[in-house]
C-alpha cells in the first residue's frame, strides 16, 4: 500500500528553471526507496517539497490517503515525515539528549524535565540499538555518530517516514555498513525510508525500490532487484558510464611542491599534522587517502597558503611559501578546488560570471583599457558554461540558484582554466553525479598529461585508486604508507593503513619524497 503519494508536483525556481516537472512519486509503507538522479535532476527539491521546506507551484501530496499541504517543516513532522539533511543541523554546545529533544522537551512544572528527557531518548536509542553517548556535546561527536543523532532526532519527533539526503557522502566505509544495518532494522520495524544517493552499489545493497529522476522529471520507478547498476546509471544520464578511466602511465618530471617534515598543532596543542614529508612532481597525480580528521584538511590548507605551518618547510615551484600570500601562489601556477565549496569555493550571492573571474581578475583579457569589459567577461563565461556543461538559465544567474553539482562545476571551470602547473583537488566529485564526475576525472588526467602536477584528496577510495599514480595514506597526522603501484593494492589493504592497523617502514614512506 502506498503510504505516500506525490501527484503531478511542479516546482519552478526563480531563474525560470523547472526543478520538478509534473513528478509522480509514490512510496510503499515499510520499504527502503532509493531516489537517484544527476545533480540538478530535482531530487533535493522534491524532498524539500515533501518536507515542507519548499512549496510546490502545482501538484498534490497525499499521505495515508489524505491530501496534505505543508506550510513548514513543522507540519510535515507532525504528520510523521522526518528528514536527515546532508549538512547536519545540530547545536554544537548542547548534549545529544538536548539536541534530540530541542523544541519538543518534556516539561516539568516550570522547567524542562531533564530526567524524563534523557530516559525517553535512552529508550529510543536502545530500541533501535544506536549506541550513542547521550551526554556528549554534539561538537565532540564523529560524523557517523552525528548522523545517528539526526536520525534519532527525527524518530523522537515521531517520524514514520525518514528522508535521508545523501547520508553516506560523509561516512567512512565502516560507518556506512553500520548505517545500513540500522536502516534495515528500521525497515523491519515498519518504518519507511527514502534514501537519496549517487552510489549505485549502495542502492543495490540496501534498497527495495528505486526511482530515477532526470532533468526535473521522474523517468522510472522499479524494483531494485530487477535492474543492474549499469541500467540505473543509463536511466540517470541517458548513456552508459563505465566508471573506467583511460590513462597512460605517468611520466613524472621535476618536483613542483616539496613538503618537508611539516607540523601543525591546533589550539589545544594537539599535533594534527605531525611531520609529513613528500613531494608532488609535474605530470603525476598523487592521491591522499585517510579517514576524515587525520590531518589531510590541515595539510592542504597549509600547502595552499590558507594556514601557516608551525615548523618544517613547504617549497612550491622552488621557493618557500612560509610568508607567501595566496595571490602570489596562484600567480605562480597553483590552482585549488576546495572541499568546502559553499564557503570557500564560491560567493553564492554573486552571479556565475563574478564567480568565474575571481581568480582571473589580473588577466588582461577581461579588460578593455583599464576597465573590466562586461562583454568580454560574458564571452568567457559563456564559453566556460558550455565547456563545463553548467546547467543554468544564463551566466548572470546567481550561484545560489544552482544545484550542488553545478556549483562544483563552476568551481572546477574556474580552477581548471588557470593555466595551472599544480592543481590541488580536494573531494572534487563529492556529491556530484556520475556524468559530471567522469568529466572531472578525464579533465584531471588530461591536465596531468599536459604536464600538470595534481594533488588529489578524496574520501572515495574508488576514485583515488582509479585516478592516482601513487597514493599517500595519512593516519593521525603522519604518513602511514606510500603506495607506488596503485593497481596492485586492494581497498582492504588501504583501509588497514588508513585505520593505522598497518604501517610501512620509514624507508618505504621516505620514498614519497623524490630527489632528483
Amino acid at each position: 500500500m502506498d503510504i505516500l503519494q506525490m501527484n503531478e508536483i511542479s516546482k519552478v525556481y526563480g531563474n525560470g528553471i523547472y526543478a520538478n516537472r509534473r513528478v509522480n512519486f509514490s512510496v510503499c509503507e515499510g520499504e527502503i526507496h532509493a531516489l537517484v538522479g544527476e545533480n540538478g535532476a530535482g531530487k533535493s527539491t522534491l524532498m524539500k517539497v515533501l518536507f515542507g521546506l519548499e512549496k510546490p507551484d502545482s501538484g498534490q501530496i497525499i499521505v495515508k490517503g489524505t491530501p496534505v499541504s505543508f506550510q513548514s517543516p513543522q507540519d510535515a513532522m507532525a504528520i510523521g515525515i522526518g528528514m536527515v539533511h546532508q549538512h547536519f543541523m545540530l547545536v554544537p554546545s548542547l548534549s545529544v539528549t538536548e539536541n534530540v529533544t530541542l523544541g519538543f522537551e518534556p516539561m516539568g512544572k516550570a522547567f524542562i524535565d531533564r530526567k524524563t528527557a534523557r530516559k525517553k531518548v535512552q529508550e529510543l536509542s536502545d530500541t533501535f540499538d544506536l549506541k550513542i553517548d547521550l551526554d556528549m556535546p554534539a561538537s565532540k561527536l564523529a560524523v557517523g555518530i552525528k548522523q545517528k543523532v539526526e536520525i534519532l532526532k527525527a524518530l523522537y519527533r515521531g517520524a514514520r517516514i525518514l528522508i535521508l539526503d545523501e547520508p553516506t557522502a560523509v561516512l567512512t566505509p565502516q560507518e556506512t555498513v553500520e548505517l545500513f544495518i540500522q536502516l534495515k532494522a528500521l525497515k523491519e520495524k515498519g518504518f519507511t525510508v527514502i534514501f537519496i544517493s549517487h552510489k549505485l552499489r549502495e542502492i543495490k545493497q540496501l534498497t527495495d525500490r528505486v526511482s530515477v529522476m532526470r532533468r526535473g522529471e521522474l523517468v522510472a520507478s522499479v524494483n531494485t532487484e530487477d535492474v543492474s547498476e549499469e541500467e540505473i546509471s543509463s536511466m540517470m544520464i541517458g548513456g552508459g558510464y563505465s566508471g573506467h578511466i583511460v590513462k597512460s602511465p605517468a611520466v613524472p618530471k621535476e618536483n613542483l611542491v616539496e613538503i618537508k617534515d611539516v607540523k601543525w598543532k591546533d589550539r589545544n596543542s594537539v599535533p594534527v599534522v605531525n611531520g609529513v614529508t613528500f613531494s608532488v612532481r609535474a605530470g603525476e597525480i598523487v592521491g591522499i587517502a585517510g579517514v576524515e580528521g587525520n590531518g589531510q584538511d590541515e595539510l592542504i590548507e597549509m600547502i595552499t597558503g590558507l594556514k601557516r605551518y608551525d615548523s618544517g618547510e613547504i617549497q612550491m615551484f622552488g621557493s618557500s611559501i612560509k610568508n607567501e600570500e595566496i595571490s602570489s601562489l596562484r600567480e605562480r601556477g597553483m590552482s585549488y578546488i576546495p572541499s568546502d565549496r559553499m564557503t570557500l569555493g564560491v560567493a553564492t550571492s554573486m552571479s556565475i560570471e563574478n564567480n568565474l573571474i575571481s581568480t582571473k581578475i589580473n588577466d588582461p583579457s577581461i579588460y578593455s583599457g583599464k576597465l573590466l569589459s562586461a562583454s568580454k567577461i560574458a564571452q568567457l563565461s559563456a564559453k566556460l558554461v558550455s565547456d563545463f556543461r553548467i546547467k543554468c538559465g544564463s551566466s548572470k544567474t546567481e550561484v545560489s540558484m544552482l544545484s550542488g553539482g553545478n556549483i562544483q562545476k563552476v568551481v572546477v571551470a574556474r580552477e581548471f582554466t588557470q593555466n595551472a602547473r599544480l592543481i590541488i583537488a580536494e573531494q572534487p566529485t563529492r556529491g556530484i553525479d556520475v556524468g559530471a564526475a567522469e568529466f572531472i576525472h578525464n579533465k584531471l588526467v588530461e591536465l596531468r598529461d599536459s604536464g600538470c602536477g595534481v594533488l588529489l584528496v578524496s574520501a572515495d577510495l574508488d576514485e583515488l585508486t582509479k585516478l592516482s599514480d601513487s597514493i599517500i595514506v595519512l593516519h593521525n597526522g603522519q604518513i602511514s604508507a606510500y603506495i607506488e603501484n596503485v593497481s596492485a593494492v586492494s581497498e582492504i589493504e588501504l583501509g588497514h593503513y588508513m585505520l593505522g592497523v598497518n604501517k610501512q617502514s620509514a624507508s618505504d614512506i621516505g620514498r614519497a619524497y623524490h630527489t632528483k
Partner: protein, 312 residues
C-alpha cells in the same frame, strides 16, 4: 506634502540642495556596505571634511579656483582619515567597525569643535563660528532664486565614477567579493585586509568630500556645533538604493523630497511634522522589505516559465 516641493522654483531648489550632501554620504555608505563593512563614521567624515575645508579656506589665502580644489581635496583626505581608524582596527585586531565607528563620531565631533574654538573662531561674531569663508572659495550658485550650487555637478560625476569603480575595476571587484563572502575572497587570492581598509577609506573620502562641498556651497561660515546627521541619511539612502551607486541619486531625491515636503506641510497645515517621520518610516520599510518583492517576482517567473513550456 506630495506636491508642495513642486509649487515653486524656490521650493524645488531646496529639494536639490538637500539632495546634494546626502548623495555624497549615500555613495560613501554604499561603498562601505558593498564590502560588508558596516562603518558608520560617514557622519564623522562628513563633519571633519567640512572642518578641514573651513580651515583651508580661512587660513590659507589661495587664488579662487585653486582654493576650492585644495579645500575639497583636504576635506576628502580628512574624511578618509576618519573612516580609516575603524578600518585599521578591524583589519589588524578584528575590532567591530560598527562599534568603533559609532563611538568615533563623537570623538570627531569634539575634535572638530576644539579646532573651531581654538583655531578658526571669529571672536567678533556673535556665536561660535569660524571666520567668514572668502568668496573665492565658495561654490557658485548657478540657478537664480535657489541656492543650488556647483556641488551638484561634482555629485553627478562622483556617482558615475563610483559606479565605474565598483563594477569595472579590480579594486571594486575585490570590494564586492569581500562583501559577499570574505573567505571566498581570501581563497581566491584577493587581499582581504587591503580591501577592508581601502573600501572604508574611499567611503570616508567621499563623505569628507561631501562635507566640504556642503560647506562651500551652502554656508558663509563654518558654524556646526553638533553632527549634521547627513551620515545617518547616507545609511538610509544606501539601504534604499540597495548599495548600488546608480540608484543613490534617486534614493537621495526621494528622501530630500519627503523631508522638504514635510517641512512645507508642517508650515501650511496643521499636520504635525512628526507624522511625516512616521510616513517616511513606513515608506522606507515597505521599500526595503525584500521578501514582498521577491514573492511578486517569483510569481512572474513561474507564469513565464509555464507559458514558455521550457523545461530547462
Amino acid at each position: 506634502m506630495l506636491l508642495g516641493p513642486l509649487s515653486s522654483m524656490r521650493n524645488f531648489g531646496t529639494v536639490i540642495e538637500m539632495m546634494i550632501p546626502i548623495t555624497f554620504t549615500g555613495l560613501a555608505v554604499s561603498i562601505m556596505f558593498q564590502a560588508a563593512q558596516f562603518n558608520l563614521a560617514s557622519e564623522g567624515s562628513f563633519f571633519m571634511g567640512a572642518v578641514a575645508a573651513a580651515a583651508v579656506a580661512t587660513k590659507l589665502s589661495l587664488p579662487p579656483v585653486l582654493s576650492i580644489m585644495v579645500c575639497l581635496l583636504v576635506g576628502a583626505v580628512a574624511g578618509a582619515f576618519v573612516c580609516a581608524i575603524p578600518a585599521i582596527l578591524k583589519a589588524r585586531f578584528n575590532a567591530s567597525e560598527m562599534v568603533s565607528s559609532l563611538m568615533l563620531n563623537y570623538v570627531v565631533l569634539f575634535l572638530g569643535l576644539f579646532i573651531l574654538n581654538f583655531f578658526l573662531r571669529d571672536p567678533s561674531f556673535g556665536m561660535l563660528a569660524s571666520f567668514p569663508l572668502p568668496d573665492g572659495s565658495k561654490l557658485i550658485h548657478f540657478i537664480p532664486k535657489t541656492r543650488i550650487h556647483a556641488g551638484l555637478f561634482i555629485a553627478v560625476v562622483l556617482v558615475i565614477v563610483t559606479y565605474l569603480f565598483l563594477y569595472k575595476t579590480k579594486s571594486g571587484y575585490s570590494i564586492r567579493t569581500l562583501g559577499q563572502n570574505a573567505k571566498f575572497a581570501h581563497y581566491s587570492g584577493i587581499g582581504v585586509g587591503g580591501a577592508i581598509v581601502s573600501s572604508q577609506m574611499i567611503g570616508g573620502a567621499v563623505a569628507g568630500l561631501g562635507g566640504s562641498v556642503e560647506l562651500l556651497g551652502m554656508y558663509d561660515r563654518f558654524q556646526w556645533t553638533s553632527l549634521p546627521g547627513y551620515g545617518w541619511d547616507g545609511v538610509i539612502i544606501a539601504i534604499l538604493a540597495r548599495n548600488k551607486p546608480q540608484y543613490v541619486p534617486l534614493a537621495a531625491f526621494f528622501l530630500a523630497y519627503l523631508r522638504i515636503g514635510s517641512g512645507i506641510m508642517a508650515r501650511v497645515t496643521d499636520v504635525p511634522s512628526e507624522l511625516i517621520i512616521i510616513i517616511q518610516s513606513i515608506m522606507i520599510m515597505l521599500i526595503t522589505a525584500q521578501a514582498l518583492l521577491g514573492k511578486l517576482k517569483h510569481k512572474l517567473v513561474v507564469k513565464e516559465t509555464i507559458a514558455n513550456g521550457n523545461p530547462s
